[in-house]
Symmetry: C2
Subunit: 198 residues, 2 copies
């Protein structure tokens, strides 16, 4: 099994973290986040979005979208609830992550920490403001809760952990968020946890 990967991408890290929990072996093929010119050649026919992560199963079938890959491997394991409502809540948080959280937390992190060169200050401020709203919503939800859904670590936690735990690289002040910080520590203490640079 082959993972088209980026060591710096939180979206790829989600997949690596779940596969580590599950003890599933795979090969990694690192793609550049700077020069994306080779992506149509490499990922065309494998992933309509031409992005990493893209996984190619041993039978040659492929999947894109980090959260869809998590469900492929995670469903019917301890990382996905059985209960119908809790399953939908996991998806709710994952769609929230891709719509409200990732574009506003991962993108400032990329601009400030990896991209180099000039940054549009108006665009950055807009993303950071929306990113703080996304973190505020997480903080409110996590106050008094151990994990995002039910009382157990699930795919929802993996998905939101990926970019939240490196939000400081996008200049987000995480001192504002005690409930998030406690939750980050609980996620990092899960058996089989690996770090983003593992």
């Amino acid at each position: 099994m082959l993972l088209y990967d980026s060591a710096r991408s939180g979206n790829c890290y989600k997949v690596r973290l779940l596969l580590a929990h599950l003890g599933i072996p795979y090969e990694r093929r690192e793609l550049s986040v700077h020069d994306r010119a080779n992506r149509p050649a490499l990922l065309g026919g494998l992933n309509p979005a031409l992005r990493v992560p893209t996984i190619v199963l041993d039978d040659g079938r492929s999947l894109g979208e980090s959260n869809a890959i998590l469900w492929y491997f995670g469903d019917h394991t301890r990382y996905v609830p059985d209960d119908r409502y809790e399953r939908a809540q996991v998806l709710q948080w994952q769609f929230y992550e891709q719509y409200d959280h990732e574009p506003n937390i991962a993108v400032p992190r990329f601009w400030l920490h990896y991209k180099g060169g000039a940054i549009d200050p108006v665009a950055l401020a807009a993303r950071q403001s929306a990113g703080y709203r996304a973190l505020d919503a997480m903080e409110k939800h996590l106050a008094g809760r151990e994990f995002l859904v039910g009382s157990r670590y699930s795919l929802a936690d993996i998905s939101l952990y990926a970019y939240t735990h490196v939000a400081e690289e996008g200049n987000f002040d995480m001192a504002r968020y005690p409930a998030i910080r406690s939750w980050l520590a609980r996620v990092a203490a899960q058996p089989g946890h690996v770090t983003i640079d593992a």
Copy 2:
């Protein structure tokens, strides 16, 4: 059961379309897409994103995110495949929809068709360019296929139909996309189909 709804929102339409297919009755409560000041009061505690659609079940539990709501009602019906890989493909297309398609097709539609007032031409051009890339990927995938996943109409088709079928309201030239146009007609011909203004 109560749906916090917007008649104009493709995201809300996804939910209404599936509930129509399934014959599930519900109440609709229309929220304004222009004045959103009342959303924290109405949706706080129900949906971390403070957006429509938000559904409140008869027992008072709530769910946000259109695609999560689709899975809550659609799983274990004819609209979700049983096969593990096809289930992940449905999710792949739904995450693609929320990340690549909706922000670049729904947003120009809203600006041009509903919002009124001045539009930033640079921002509009950037969204439309990305929107065409999303439609190009759909066209390529749908050429020679009946539906997005497997050979059957599924939640993936419902999710992508919602804003694709009104993309012309965002000034997208759909004459370029014969495979998408045939697919739109197949979706609209499904038993129990309802229109966005039903």
